[in-house]
């Protein structure tokens, strides 16, 4: 094993939003920082749905909204319940917005560039094989037969936590604790996108679909408009998907794209990109017992810090903010004499006090809703049947109550509906 002479204050593993932001903040505070990424460029291995909430990022990056690679501001939100060839949709439009669409690859790249501008050293195509320990403390990383040393290591390796598994800090991922995202990016001209979705330039759409879009597997589909492309994909519970699908998983997106309701949007597009990625479904179960060790802090998806609100994910802003807090925590630890376990405890404390942990606690039971089949099959069906009774008028017309009773006949009892409604309104 060859020890590299150059020593760093901090080594950050992974240049996703969490790692890139940690490196940015560390370098900005003057620490000698090394950011390592196994992909060809920062973010080249990342994938996400498509929308980022901006508020926390503005605290971290100056002039974020002017400089970051923002595609469109989300001003139109749609949620659809799909049954067969019909959909019932709620649409919310507003000129106010707190989120934007982008490519995660571009955003991670931008964040890593900010880190480099602040003096961090970014090396790509470097895969860390394991964390390096000296006298029981984390003191660097091992890449093939070389060791690079540092005072502190920040693990931002994302959800597939091979390094942490190796250390025995987390267990192997179980298919029932993660969901699988499968996505296509479809190229369309900006004007075409504007016309198809009723948007102005720079205006974006976020569209969540539930029901008959995932072959009945708990999960949902998403559509986000980028500047000159549309991201389209599904998220399904991995365990369920493995049990129920005997075909290649891409079929699910293919079917979504060709869905009678959606076909018209994409028929003239060209598929630019296809990708799949895991996502923590039940973050609480993925969170390591603690997020700090002697010489080590864990941030972002690796720490299970992702909020699933049911109709939206907050992964990027949470990941970035945890990286930011980790950097601040290191500054405090440094001031107190170094990155010992005792001194790094402050990271967990700061995180607990921030919106990150507060929100994660508040929404901790959302993932249990995901296990409720009825929400993904019965209710979309019920609502669409109800709508069809009210809207498809021939000779007779229905009154609401009449239509409702007929729609739910033999499907679900009134008591169940009330209980489920109550449960959803409490957990979401």
């Amino acid at each position: 094993m060859k020890h590299i002479e150059k020593r760093f204050d901090a080594i950050v593993v992974g240049a996703g939003p969490a790692g890139a932001t940690a490196a940015y903040q560390l370098a900005k505070m003057g620490y000698k920082t090394l950011l390592l990424e196994r992909g060809r460029t920062p973010g080249s291995k990342s994938m996400f749905g498509g929308r980022v909430y901006i508020r926390p990022l503005k605290d971290i990056y100056e002039d974020f909204e002017k400089k970051a690679p923002i595609h469109r501001w989300v001003k139109k939100e749609r949620i659809s319940l799909v049954y067969d060839e019909s959909a019932t949709t709620i649409e919310y439009t507003s000129n106010k917005t707190t989120s934007f669409t982008t490519y995660l690859t571009q955003l991670s790249h931008w964040m890593a560039n900010q880190a480099v501008e602040q003096g961090a050293i970014l090396l790509t195509e470097i895969r860390v094989d394991r964390l390096y320990k000296e006298d029981g403390r984390y003191r660097g990383v091992v890449v093939e037969d070389e060791v690079v040393k540092s005072d502190v290591v920040i693990d931002a390796e994302g959800i597939n936590r091979l390094l942490l598994e190796r250390e025995g800090i987390v267990e192997k991922l179980s298919p029932d604790h993660v969901a699988l995202g499968v996505k296509e990016v479809i190229k369309l001209e900006p004007d075409t996108i504007n016309n198809l979705f009723g948007l102005d330039n720079n205006e974006g759409l976020s569209w969540i679909l539930m029901g008959d879009v995932t072959d009945g597997i708990p999960g949902g589909a998403f559509i986000y408009t980028n500047r000159d492309s549309v991201s389209l994909g599904i998220v399904v519970l991995l365990g369920e998907a493995a049990r129920r699908i005997d075909r290649h998983i891409y079929i699910l997106v293919e079917e979504l794209r060709n869905h009678p309701l959606l076909y018209k949007y994409f028929k003239d597009g060209r598929i630019m990109e296809y990708s799949t990625h895991l996502i923590p479904e039940d973050p609480s179960r993925l969170m390591p017992k603690k997020l700090y060790y002697d010489g080590l802090m864990i941030v972002g998806d690796a720490a299970g810090l992702l909020l699933n609100q049911g109709y939206t994910y907050r992964g990027v802003d949470f990941a970035a903010y945890s990286g930011y807090i980790a950097a601040k925590a290191y500054e405090k630890a440094h001031g107190n004499g170094g990155a010992s376990e005792e001194n790094l405890k402050i990271y967990q404390k700061m995180l607990e006090e921030s919106f990150v942990m507060k929100m994660l606690r508040k929404f901790s039971s959302v993932s249990r809703l995901m296990k409720k089949e009825r929400l993904f099959s019965t209710y979309p069906q019920l609502i669409n049947l109800l709508a069809s009774k009210l809207m498809h008028i021939e000779y007779d017309s229905y009154k609401l109550k009449e239509a409702f009773d007929e729609a739910r006949k033999g499907r679900v009892g009134l008591i169940h509906i009330i209980k489920d409604l109550w449960e959803v309104s409490r957990k979401l």
Partner: protein, 269 residues
């Protein structure tokens, strides 16, 4: 005496995603992420193997826009000692003649060298001109399609094996010389973290402009390029049928496929 090696690397758009502008017929290079021409990584690997075996230094050179610094960092990560980027607006729009002219001027300025190694060809233009032209400018012997090089220190020569369609030729060549390595001959090694750190933190890459080189500006770039692309003809599209068998039974699928092939007259039973 250890070997002083120079390798030429070209920074090319990743052609898996290159498009051709249907109106002008030119490559659309904009916005497409670039990479080091993959066959040049094979050349770099050959150079590093020679360095491992006989000692010496490897210098990578490239004529390209500034973004190619990332390519030089990559090969330094593999173990190349230093990089030189020839970059100047005056070099833009070059055909192969103007490219090889500037590259040979770069090599002249480096001065001390035994062996110049090039890739087989590039993935974006594939003329395979540059090796031969650089050798001509510098009046050096040139061997193309090389798969193996051995160095003889005593008389400062190399034994080069060159691949032909169904035979190998072996040449003895006195140094200095130019050699192009046949594609896919070697698997390029992975980058090392220590080497990459060196690329980022030590001054191992220099950028040379036309002012740094002893060149006639009329021979570089667009002005020095006599070649004109007069037309691009597209290979006509072969009309294809697209049939999909949708059931899952493999036996039926095989039967169906065979029937289709018979119908098309491609198979006789």
């Amino acid at each position: 005496m250890p070997l002083k090696i120079i390798v030429g690397i070209k920074w090319v758009p990743n052609t898996t995603s290159v498009n051709i502008d249907p109106k002008t017929g030119t490559l659309i290079r904009e916005g497409i992420p670039s990479v080091v021409n993959p066959h040049d990584l094979t050349a770099v690997e050959m150079a590093l193997k020679l360095k491992d075996r006989y000692g010496g230094t490897v210098t990578a050179i490239s004529m390209a826009p500034p973004s190619a610094l990332a390519g030089l960092e990559h090969v330094i990560g593999m173990g190349v000692d230093r990089g030189i980027l020839a970059s100047d607006r005056a070099f833009a729009g070059a055909d192969t003649l103007a490219t090889s002219y500037v590259l040979s001027k770069v090599i002249e300025k480096i001065g001390e060298y035994d062996l110049i190694i090039m890739g087989h060809e590039t993935i974006d233009s594939s003329t395979a001109h540059i090796g031969a032209q650089v050798a001509s400018w510098l009046r050096l012997p040139y061997v193309y399609y090389a798969v193996d090089i051995e160095y003889n220190e005593q008389d400062r020569s190399i034994i080069v094996r060159r691949m032909l369609e169904n035979a190998y030729e072996t040449y003895k060549v006195y140094l200095p010389a130019v050699v192009s390595i046949a594609m896919h001959t070697y698997e390029p090694r992975r980058v090392k973290v220590s080497n990459k750190l060196r690329a980022k933190t030590e001054d191992v890459i220099q950028v040379w402009t036309s002012k740094d080189l002893d060149i006639d500006i009329n021979c570089a770039g667009l002005r020095g390029s006599p070649t004109v692309v007069s037309a691009i003809d597209f290979v006509p599209k072969v009309p294809r049928k697209n049939l999909v068998f949708k059931e899952r039974d493999p036996k039926k699928a095989a039967k169906w496929l065979i029937d289709q092939l018979i119908q098309e007259g491609l198979l006789e039973l």
